[in-house]
Amino acid sequence: MQKKGKIITDISVMIAGMAGDGVLFTGNVLAKILKRQGWEISTYRDFPSNIRGEPTNYTIRASLEKIYGRGDDIDVFMAFDCDAIFKHAKSMAEGGILLCDGEDIVAPSPSKSKATTYHRFPLRKLALGSFGKEIFKNMIALGALFYILDLDFHIIEQIISEAFLKRKGKEVVRKNIQAIHLGCEQAKELISPEERHSLTRREDYNRLLLSGDEAIAFGALAAGCRFFAAYPICPATEIWQWLAVYLPRFNGLVVQTEDEIAALNMALGASYAGARAMTSTSGPGASLMMEGFSLAGMAEIPIVVAHVQRVGPSTGMPTKTEQSDLNQWIYGSHGDFPRIVLSPGTVEECFEFTIKAFNLAEKYQCPVILLTEQDYGHNFRSANKFDLSKVKIERGKLLSQEKLISINDFKRYKFTPDGVSPRALPGMKNGLHMVESNEHNERGYRNEDPENRIRMMQKRMKKLRSASKDLISPKIWGKKDGEIGIIGVGSTFGPIQEAITLLEKNGIRAKYLQMRTLWPFPSKKVEEFIETCKETFVVENNFSGQLSMLLKSQVRMSFDARNILKYSSQAFRPQEISEQIQKAL
């Protein structure tokens, strides 16, 4: 918890239980309430890749300042059973409060936890006693949090109505509200006013609360994506499930294919025919897409692939977060071909980069990968409304029928100075050509002449150079004059920013280079950054330091990065970064 004077400015509330307990729903409602009370939100779900019977927890962090990830400790802990207590006791903040529905609650010794108060809170008993149904324990828990956090009842009522009125009717709304009141009253009896963590209210300004997956889906819709083919996989499925609802309303189509191979190939067919097309996946599915990836590069077909990373290798931990698939897209598949890999760090960037991805794919006629992570793919963040007036659709060298007709001797794979060739769509007059997975000539027909081969390779790869000036540059944050440099990508955005603040408190001035395009690699900008640092740290959510190896291979200087790595399946907390840097200096 952070305070400014007496006013709480940053708080984390954890709800824990077993998968199937309703932790997710309760957490989502709380997050929405706090967002509407004007707080910045970042949620964090730690749930098993199992349907039931294993522990799960959900942390809602709220702050008066903009935040992009989890905090360091937990202020309010609502546990549906006691197992979670000892696991998370060490993360409790000073002055924290813990409520647990379990017979055997024992307060851990102060050496194990900094929390102040522990209360047994009989959620199930209350639910069964008053409503005859265990499921009401969630709303009773929410009621207790309502008391502790001093929430706005009007907003709660509103959100409960939104959740239940249409789908389940008035009576259900009434009962849920009643359960909230019950929880609130019970909490009042148990918890002294000093133990409360009252939160202020601010204007919400109609901000959004959404996940990275949703931001990508919405971005795709705005960018004119009209064909989406995919196969279910955690944690990417939410992208197409969102589009499955909206694309058909925009003359688009979503197809559930038999596997990821079909998904990518079908999307390539659609793109070739002229639709803005996309697929989404995660590690195992991406491995299956490698062959189609290479085809997109060879045949110069625009395509966007959103990849939401989870823990690998193999099936790994499907619902947990990691950054271990960078190499897969930068270096994966056979042969050399042009590819663009973008990696947003926030939900806002998920939206922006998605639009950019579609434009880049068509302008440079190559595959564009949007690389995100479970951490901000599945979890919610508050964000200002997206500025739709800024959305531009750029289709590159796609020819209109009129233009094409006027071309004498059309060549789909014409050698051009920038490597990008004019593009005709099937059905167009005067545009006949082949799309070949084999090496081919300027018309697309199979050709094995070594001279042609050399020129075609140069043509295709030249596009990367042409694209370079059009890409999203790395961005520098923090103390621009700091001597300590931190480099990261994706989800480390939030914790690195906060680590910089923590470091400053310890007199260390650090700056942070956020990589936003991973390929083609922005060598110059990165070299410039490294040159100004006395020490450079690379922070990564993986074992082998994939970003660090990439950096090393792409900058001129001998680059002695210090790696700060985490591969426990959990996202970084700010202190984990700041403390490691302090120790290393």
Binding site: N251, N265, L295, S437
Partner: protein, 286 residues
């Protein structure tokens, strides 16, 4: 009215006598009979000797990955249903590596025509056993004879909900072209398997061999291609290979179901950003 030669881009380089010549000829003929504009036709091929076809054909062409012609063809057709889309695969392409797509395409029933050039061998890779090679088939990959039951693509198609099943012979381009033509007219997924000898690698299933083992259902006025049980029985007989239109069924195509009466294809959609409409959708995230 267009002529066969309007679709002839260049002379093929298949071996002399290759069954693919028969398919090429029949397909050009069918295209001419349908008076297709070359620009309105897209041929998607798999990898194999068959896969060269669109390098010789005057139309739009897409030489896809091994086994993946159907997903690509499906993506094209769904994005622009006004195009005529024809997929061409070999027996290895369609029935081995591409088998999953084959069956799912059949149940999906997208309005494309799929020609499977069945030479019962992996030709381009120099003669390995294929799923349609008969049990016992000796080749570089099965020097002691294949130990796997050969696969019956048309029976599988029937079990997958196919709405159009036909079989032609590259030694009989006249019938074959009429089957391709019918397939292209059919509303839904049309499968045309073609018995198509590889004169280099398959010394068993030659023109003569096929001629001896096939019989023509099209000649049998008693045969009703709408009778599924009968079709199953005919296809069950491994000794006598039925040719012609084997099964046809009227059921809505995938496009009928997903697009309904929508007039404009996806590719014609105006992509300009509808800000007010998107703003309203954005509301849901509040």
């Amino acid at each position: 009215m267009r002529k066969d030669k309007d679709y002839h881009l260049t002379d093929p380089t298949w071996c002399a006598g290759c069954g693919n010549y028969g398919i090429f000829a029949a397909f050009k003929k069918a295209a001419a009979a349908l008076d297709l504009e070359p620009e309105q036709l897209v041929i998607v091929t798999g990898i194999g000797c068959h896969g060269r076809l669109n390098n010789y054909f005057n139309s739009y062409g897409f030489h896809a990955l091994h086994g993946r012609a159907l997903p690509v063809a499906s993506g094209i057709k769904l994005s622009n249903p006004s195009l005529s889309v024809v997929g061409i695969s070999g027996d290895g392409d369609a029935y081995s590596i591409g088998l999953g797509h084959f069956i799912h395409s059949l149940r999906r029933n997208i309005n494309i025509t799929y020609v499977v050039a069945d030479n019962r061998v992996y030709a381009l890779t120099q003669g390995q056993t294929s799923p349609t090679s008969e049990m016992g088939y000796v080749s570089v990959s099965t020097p002691y004879g294949s130990k796997e039951l050969n696969l019956n693509g048309l029976q599988l198609a029937l079990a997958s909900g196919a709405s159009f099943i036909a079989r032609g012979f590259s030694g009989n381009p006249t019938q074959l072209s009429s089957l391709i033509e019918k397939g292209m007219k059919h509303k839904g997924f049309a499968l045309v398997e073609v018995l198509s000898p590889c004169v280099i690698h398959n010394k068993i299933n030659t023109y003569q061999w096929f001629r001896k083992n096939i019989y023509n259902l099209d000649d049998d006025s008693n045969y009703d291609p709408g009778d599924k049980i009968k079709a199953w029985e005919k296809l069950s007989n491994e000794k006598k290979i039925p040719m012609g239109l084997i099964y046809v069924e009227k059921r809505p195509s995938y496009e009928d179901l997903v697009f309904g009466k929508r007039a404009e294809p996806i590719v014609s959609d105006d992509l300009s950003v509808d800000v007010p409409r998107l703003e309203k959708i954005m509301e849901k995230f509040k």
